[in-house]
């Protein structure tokens, strides 16, 4: 089957499955059939949103080797943007229950707006901090995310606000959260179709980035910045654009999060604290910095772990323990558990579960990173080999005559070198 035909068929199949999950084609939605329990559905969708967060953070922290520790800030910007867009569009569409058909109007605009606004903030933060060498990015991203959150959380909300900015901030509901323009909750348009669809698209984009010239430039930068610029890779440009891509991805995740099915009806500033940024870093490092598969596994793993710890807190014995020891903050203990998991993993597998590798790639170099030989590179290789066959003066020939005539000693050392190398 030609590649294009196959691609179209696979895409069509995926789209049909996604539509079935959400609409069920008249019957009950496939997602509800598969997972009758709403809590489970929520967990799965939330995990998928986290996967998008991890995939996007992986571009800057994993692939580009920079250290952004305020990713939740961009998720938050995307979430508020998405909630505003979805809320107002919903009113325009006549309110009521969010319809799947209408989501095709709402969600594209939500995701576009969330991604774009987050990307703009990414540019604003990344441009000055990535120009400088060193760890400025970490400090600046952390500060930025906290400022964003605090500006919203501490806004005056009692109707006393004056000036358009203050009024706008007041409309976001401060610490209590934003509940849409009419105050009755952010409309939940992001069902399995949009969330799974976004995960698929984000994975494809991450994959493209990694296994393209772009990804190779990033790997080069990460290994040796001086050598990379000596071959003509512009460090600032690649870092800034990667950061903007990461911010855009986080924004999209935020947009999904804000109007997620079975999600919270309000968008609250406390969903975007340093804890969430730290979770995102954990997902990336746990899965393996630079690995797309790793980001996916890490995203799911961290979501489930967090949920599990939350569930454990509901257990009677834990409740009793809590009543006996009110001074112990179990939420803080979560961080301890996390840190323990992270430290353990760093000792056992310093490069994360996957290292830089991927699940579905067959060819791998013997050591270290994934094999980014793309098709083009393989093609070039075969062209080269065929030319070698047909021409007389070829590298292989030349080399054999050379080593035969003058450099016997060299070819001896060469075999030993080969022996030790492989």
């Amino acid at each position: 089957m030609p590649r294009i035909v196959r691609g179209v068929l696979i895409t069509a199949l995926v789209v049909v499955v996604l539509i079935w999950l959400e609409s069920g084609f008249g019957a009950s939605p496939g997602f509800q059939t598969v997972l009758p329990d709403a809590a489970w559905r929520q967990l799965v969708l939330f995990a998928m949103v986290n996967v998008v967060i991890a995939l996007s953070l992986n571009v800057i922290n994993g692939m580009a080797g920079q250290f952004s520790i305020g990713h939740a800030g961009f998720v938050g910007i995307g979430a508020y943007t998405g909630a505003l867009v979805a809320g107002h569009l919903h009113v325009r569409l006549g309110s009521g229950d969010p319809q799947f058909a209408n989501s095709f109007i709402v969600m594209p605009l939500v995701l576009l707006a969330s991604g774009t606004i987050a990307a703009l903030f990414g540019l604003l933060v990344g441009l000055p901090s990535l120009r400088l060498r060193g760890d400025y990015l970490a400090i600046v991203t952390l500060g930025f995310a906290e400022i964003f959150r605090l500006v919203i959380a501490t806004a005056q909300t009692g109707g006393t606000a004056e000036g358009s900015v203050a009024k706008f901030l007041a409309s976001l509901g401060g610490q209590n959260g934003y509940a849409g323009p009419e105050g009755n909750g952010v409309p939940q348009y992001a069902g399995p179709f949009w969330i799974f669809g976004s995960v698929i698209v984000a994975t494809l984009i991450a994959w493209r980035i990694k296994f393209s010239g772009w990804g190779r430039a990033l790997r080069a930068l990460r290994e040796d910045e001086i050598a990379a610029s000596a071959v003509g890779v512009d460090p600032t440009r690649y870092k800034v654009v990667s950061f903007v891509i990461a911010a855009a991805g986080a924004g999209v995740a935020g947009g999904l999060f804000a109007s997620m099915h079975d999600g919270s009806p309000t968008v609250q500033p406390d969903s975007f604290t340093f804890v969430q940024s730290f979770d995102a870093i954990t997902m990336v490092i746990l899965g393996g910095s630079g690995s797309v598969s790793g980001a996916i596994v890490g995203g799911v793993f961290v979501t489930v772990t967090v949920k599990l710890i939350e569930q454990l807190q509901g257990l009677e014995s834990i409740q009793a323990f809590r009543a006996d020891h009110p001074s112990i903050d179990l939420n803080a203990l979560r961080m301890v558990v996390y840190a323990a998991v992270l430290i353990g993993l760093m000792i056992l597998r310093p490069e994360g579960l996957f290292g830089e590798r991927e699940i579905f790639r067959r060819k791998r170099p013997k050591k270290g990173g994934g094999d980014p030989d793309n098709n083009a590179a393989q093609k070039s290789q075969s062209t080269q080999e065929s030319t070698q066959d047909s021409e007389n003066s070829t590298p292989a020939d030349k080399e054999s005559t050379e080593s035969a005539s003058s450099k016997q000693a060299t070819s001896e050392t060469l075999t030993t070198a080969e022996g030790t190398a492989s």
Partner: protein
């Protein structure tokens, strides 16, 4: 190794006239003056060596020419163009490639990926393939190891790869920083032979070396750098016979 570049005209400088001119160049690290106003020139087609003891400022000179360090004062001119405002990453477009000290290969990438990164400024796949074939002809050992992870190459092979990678950009001028550093004598000879062939094919070379004997053997002219200043310069043959040089750098 042809130096013709598909999108870049050959240097305007005629063979034997200055391609690179460094004029009264001063560079400091913070308050420390590493270069105190050095002047030198490299004619098109020449191998020019720069020798000197540890810390004399050789690497600083090359890095500054390669635009990795800011200029405190003075001028760097390449083929009639001022390199002052040029950024490190756009220097390859001018036709100047640096082989950094300590090789600076990408150790976790394969040899082929390293080479392809060297060809970063080429857009055409066929040019890359063609260039790779020429480079591999110069360094057969690299050609045999294209799929190997670069960090697993021997030290000498890594140096070859570093030079090969720089050649992938088809530079008109090569800046080489201590290609003999930490490499077994036999491979050093191979590397210098390759350098000589690169120069024969028309690439101009500025070679920084601590191995004074070899540097003077393979270069036409040389500059002796001492604590940030040019102490001596002249034909390499004459310098090799110079008593002071013999005593200071050739071990008697």
């Amino acid at each position: 190794m042809k130096i013709e570049h598909p999108n870049r005209p050959a240097p305007k400088a005629e063979a034997g006239t200055p391609l690179l001119t460094v004029d009264n160049l001063a560079v400091s690290y913070g308050g420390i003056k590493a270069l105190k106003g050095i002047s030198l020139n490299v004619n098109r087609g020449e191998i020019v060596a720069m020798i000197g003891a540890n810390g004399a400022g050789k690497t600083t000179t090359l890095k500054t020419i390669a635009r990795l360090l800011p200029i405190s004062s003075g001028k760097i001119n390449y083929d009639g163009r001022d390199l002052g405002p040029v950024s490190a990453e756009s220097l390859v477009e001018y036709g100047v490639s640096l082989v950094p000290e300590g090789r600076g290969i990408f150790p976790n990438l394969t040899v082929r990926e390293n080479l392809e990164l060297g060809a970063w400024n080429h857009k055409s796949k066929s040019v890359i393939v063609e260039t790779e074939m020429e480079v591999v002809r110069l360094f057969p050992r690299i050609g045999e190891r294209v799929k190997q992870v670069a960090g697993t190459l021997s030290g000498g092979e890594q140096q070859m790869l570093a030079i090969a990678r720089a050649l992938m950009a088809r530079p008109a001028m090569l800046l080489l920083d201590e290609p003999s550093l930490g490499i077994a004598p036999r491979l050093v000879a191979d590397i210098f032979e390759a350098v000589a062939r690169i120069a024969e094919a028309g690439t101009t070379i500025l070679l920084v070396e601590q191995n004074t004997r070899l540097a003077l053997k393979y270069s036409r002219r040389a500059y002796v750098l001492r604590t940030g200043e040019i102490a001596m310069s002249g034909n390499s043959k004459d310098l090799a016979d110079n008593e002071e040089i013999k005593a200071a750098y050739l071990g008697g």
